[in-house]
Amino acid sequence: MDYNSFIENFKEQFIDADEISVDLGTKFRDLPTWDSLTGMSVLVMIKDEYEVDFSADELKRCNTVQEVYDLIKEKQQA
């Protein structure tokens, strides 16, 4: 899993993906179009692309894109 494709996949889940910029340090909850639907979409993306089970509660504990990335990595190695 490389950083760039992960950031791209993460960004794709926002309805205004073409207009926002996202990097590892982005606090995704602060983006104006973030809401629970975006969250569901992110969880679906993670299950699909990275084949790990990531719960809504786990996502709730993450604030930055980096934290999501790290937790996926951790789960993949487990």
Binding site: I15, T33, D35, S36, L37, M40, S41, L43, V44, K47, D48, A56
Partner: protein, 335 residues
């Protein structure tokens, strides 16, 4: 070989409209514009206090008969899909037979399904026709979820609208829409029953509803939806359903001219569309003015697609319904 075809479609929307402006003034903290940009819903029609599924079903059927010049004497079976029947018994479809003055030699029954109901109804109608039990089946979907939704439940109020749709499914015939109903795929996962449920009113609550009108929070009398569970079911199960239905019909995704899915909400539909790798230009969305009307979304969208000339003779149209149950079904219509 006999065929079962959709000959005509029509629908009825109740008069009263719940607009985004009304929702915004009722719930100032609810950022309705942002939400609508995602759901794709701007208005919903709401059944009057004294208007019930049976009434709406009759109005939809009358629209169908009148606008498509259908001889009511030809109807020999009525199927009504509803989760808000007028009574525990008798079957609302029997009342409809009488109110529409249909033949007394009609068969009539209700079946209880939600968002997958239209597809299941087509499956039942096709079975009746191909087994020589009927020639002209009146399939009605009619739902008043608004009566289940608690007044403080702004999420569900934002999504759901009331509506009824009437579809004539007939034995082979060149006139009308002539959309042949091809092969089906179905799916059920009852382990998700609690994800979308109205608990009270059935035998398990001793047929009681608490009817606590002063309750400030939704309770067991009301519609409960675990949005996340439904989203996951849809996102993970529907792409497989699409694949299996295509396989069963021996067609490729490229051969489908239009996809008309249950119109749940735009955001979820887009997620499913991307996961099923369906091109956006082949994916029909019709939610703006009526919201999620449960079992009527597919027939309403089909009728709109026909009138917008998005469905033409020779087209293959893929339809899929999914939701409460949890239940899903899909088929292809060959116009």
């Amino acid at each position: 070989m006999k065929r079962a075809v959709i000959k005509a479609l029509d629908y009825y929307l109740p008069e009263a409209i719940l607009t985004n402006e009304q929702l915004a003034s009722e719930y100032p903290e609810w950022s309705i514009d942002k939400i609508s940009a995602k759901t794709g819903i701007y208005k919903r029609h709401i059944a009057a206090k004294d208007e019930f599924s049976g009434d709406m079903a009759i109005k939809a059927a009358k629209n169908l008969f009148k606008n498509h010049n259908i001889d009511t004497g030809s109807i020999d079976y009525v199927l009504l899909c509803t989760q808000s029947p007028d009574y525990f018994l008798p079957t609302t479809a029997c009342i409809i037979q009488d109110k529409l003055r249909l033949s007394k030699r009609c068969g009539a029954l209700d079946f209880n399904l939600g968002c997958s109901g239209f597809v299941y109804g087509l499956g039942l109608a096709k079975g009746l026709i191909l087994s020589n039990q009927a020639e002209n089946v009146l399939l009605i979907t009619s739902e008043t979820y608004s009566k289940f939704i608690h007044t403080a439940d702004k999420s569900n109020k934002t999504l759901f609208g009331d509506a009824a749709a009437a579809t004539l499914v007939s034995i082979d015939g060149e006139n009308g829409l002539n959309g042949e109903i091809l092969q089906f795929e179905y799916g059920t996962d009852g382990s998700g029953a609690n994800s979308l449920i109205v608990k009270n009113g059935g035998a398990r609550s001793n047929f009681m509803r608490s009817q606590n009108v002063s309750a400030t929070e939704p309770g067991d009398d009301n519609l409960y939806m675990d949005g996340k569970a439904i989203f996951e079911f849809t996102a993970f199960e529907i792409p497989g359903l699409v694949k299996e239905t295509l396989k069963r019909n021996n067609v490729s995704i490229e051969q489908i001219d239009l996809f008309v899915f249950h119109q749940a909400n735009q955001f979820m539909l887009n997620t499913v569309r991307k996961r099923a790798i369906i091109p956006e230009e082949k994916f029909f969305i019709h939610l703006q003015d009526c919201g999620n009307t449960v079992s009527s979304t597919i027939p309403i969208a089909l009728k709109e697609a026909v009138s917008q000339n998005r469905i033409k003779k020779g087209n293959k149209v893929f339809i899929a319904g999914f939701g409460v149950g949890l239940s899903m079904g899909a088929t292809i219509l060959q116009f």
